[in-house]
Subunit: 235 residues, 2 copies
């Protein structure tokens, strides 16, 4: 089976959580919007009035099925590719972790866009600075501290014990992104979450992930995505 992933072609963004799962699984997929007129094809699918149009990218096409919302796509892919347990209680648990990561992603995005997603960063610098200060003072410790305790509580080395799950891949991406966007803050903070960092290293060393990160399929971080490096926000 060939998957078609639809996502903005120039950013990692929310699509990256799906890309990491597909890459780790060695799945056969096309990153549609990065080819030819793929981006217009993507926009046309969202404008469709009938059937089940997604609200926003990313979405995944599998045969006739179109699945939107990052966590929902991973819910579908996980048990099919050994990235989530098949039994319902554990499947819901891994999904719950992903939804908590998704909440964190929104807050990461809001550090540079506190006044709303349709304004430019340049038009909301002072607000961004305030929000970022609260982010590092309160929210990063709360979210990453939670994941640290989970790895500890389940005996590790992953969020859900011995076996990898897609939420581990997403947590890897969170660490990578925070390192890119806030190198100074992250450098100071990492000592508080050694198990999260160890998990990050473990994911980075997985052969398919390693190959992916070294390939041009991995779009570099930049200032259009979720994780943006603005020096003014990284004291």
């Amino acid at each position: 089976m060939r998957y078609e992933l639809y996502y903005w072609p120039t950013i990692q963004g929310r699509g990256e959580y799906v890309r990491l799962a597909l890459e780790d699984a060695g799945a056969d997929y096309a990153d549609v919007a990065r080819r030819g007129n793929g981006e217009s094809k993507m926009m046309a699918m969202m404008d469709a009035a009938k059937e089940t149009p997604p609200f926003a990218p990313p979405f995944l096409k599998v045969g006739k099925l179109v699945i939107g919302q990052t966590a929902n796509i991973l819910l579908y892919l996980g048990p099919r590719h050994g990235l989530a347990p098949k039994a319902e209680p554990q499947r819901l648990w891994v999904h719950q972790l992903q939804l908590t990561i998704a909440d964190f992603v929104v807050e990461i995005h809001d550090t540079h866009h506190p006044l709303g997603p349709t304004l430019y960063y340049e038009d909301q610098r002072p607000a961004a600075k305030k929000r970022t200060s609260e982010f590092w003072g309160e929210r990063v410790p709360k979210f990453l501290g939670y994941f640290e305790r989970l790895i500890d509580g389940c005996g590790g080395p992953h969020l859900n014990g011995r076996r990898i799950c897609y939420a581990d891949l997403s947590l890897f991406q969170i660490v990578e992104g925070l390192r890119y966007a806030f190198p100074n803050n992250m450098k100071r903070f990492e000592r508080n979450v050694p198990r999260v960092i160890e998990l990050r290293d473990r994911v980075a060393a997985r052969p398919n992930i390693k190959a992916y990160l070294a390939s041009d399929r991995r779009i570099p971080f930049n200032e259009d995505g979720i994780f943006r490096h603005y020096r003014a926000l990284d004291a």
Copy 2:
């Protein structure tokens, strides 16, 4: 089976999407934190280092299973109570709708808390005003317009066609909340989404929902929840 719902006892908040589903289903449940020492019991469950501690309320206890994240709880409850189809493609679709509603809920909350969830509204009034203006100018039309087109595209009267689903109950709550928080803005806007309003009326008329709304189990809207009425934000 008896469900135990754990959520903050004095607000509707994110727990309300679960309460509406349990009430519509006529399910046997206890709203634990609203009784005796229920709130300390809830806090203790989140502090548990082992097993599967939720990041935040709401969470639902079903026997030994503890499910966190609003949309995840509804994913579990939906097909068991006739509030979502059992077949996977349609089950994922309804979940996708719920996740889109969850994204909207975050943006609604951010209108009064753009600089972060741990500061008071009183400390971020000017930023809240800016964010709210972007919210009504860009985001409400985008989100509610999307749901309007879905009801139209599927033939209605619900989001997923003839049969009710939990996302319909959540969309009802969105309309109720926007009417409470922004009566002036909402009054002007409603004419743009007649099908969404019709769906709201249809949900309100369901016997179990009607009885619930008239009962003291329904906590009134107030300025500690997601939907807050601040006159300065409702031009």
